[in-house]
Point group: C2
Chain length 109, copies 2
DNA sequence: TGCTTATGTGACAATATACTCATATAGTAA
DNA sequence: TTACTATATGAGTATATTGTCACATAAGCA
């Protein structure tokens, strides 16, 4: 791949990773596993202001992680690329392995 | 899971996602697929200052994505949880699907 | 029409992140 | 010891991100 194209790909990959890299946005993705939801229900589920959630949602739509459709007054959001969820399986492994390390550390004290 | 524990998990997952969510750090991970490397070689490969790369590396170590060991003067960094790499497969899918959308858009103009 | 609800957005302040430079530290070798 | 190399880090500036408030927009209904 050309050097510039590679840089561009890294930037695009980073954009997607950034779109996920926030506790509220992860909570949103977790909630959306149950299927498409409107902003008001998402805001309630994650315990944050609607306007704030709306911004987080548009970041994720811009990155291509979510898609949305209008349904009357509501806008329904859904996970566009379910393989994103595999990522959480992976980082849960990272967290577990760190937790085990800490446990060993504690026992050695 | 308790509500607080859930919040903690989301925060921890976000920390790991953040540790990946930067073009330079993605370039580093890409380079480290070839095996462990020292800071100077990583800096050269990704085309960035050593001090800057050193900071990026410590962020990824703190998040549990990389591990490192001293080898004489050098510090060798390596990917600690290879499943992280699957994530790139996933987001490449996202990028391809968006590229296809844009192509269709272009053809409709 | 006016009223209500759901969502999006401009503007701002607060905070976090990234990069650079200079300097510190640690290891190697003469 | 001194000189050299690799890495890490403090301090500063620049930039990006986040959350909140107020307001705008859009859709439904009386």
């Amino acid at each position: 791949m050309a050097k510039n194209a590679q840089q561009l790909l890294y930037a695009r990959q980073a954009q997607i990773a950034k779109a996920i890299a926030h506790p509220v946005r992860i909570a949103v993705l977790d909630f959306l596993q149950s299927g498409e939801q409107c902003v008001c229900d998402i805001a309630e589920a994650v315990g944050s202001e609607r306007s704030n959630v709306s911004r987080h949602l548009s970041v994720m739509v811009a990155a291509g992680v979510l898609s949305c459709r209008k349904d009357g007054l509501k806008v329904m959001y859904t996970i566009k690329t379910p393989c994103i969820l595999q990522f959480f399986g992976c980082i849960t492994k990272v967290i577990k392995s760190q937790a085990r390390e800490n446990e060993q550390l504690l026992q050695a004290m």
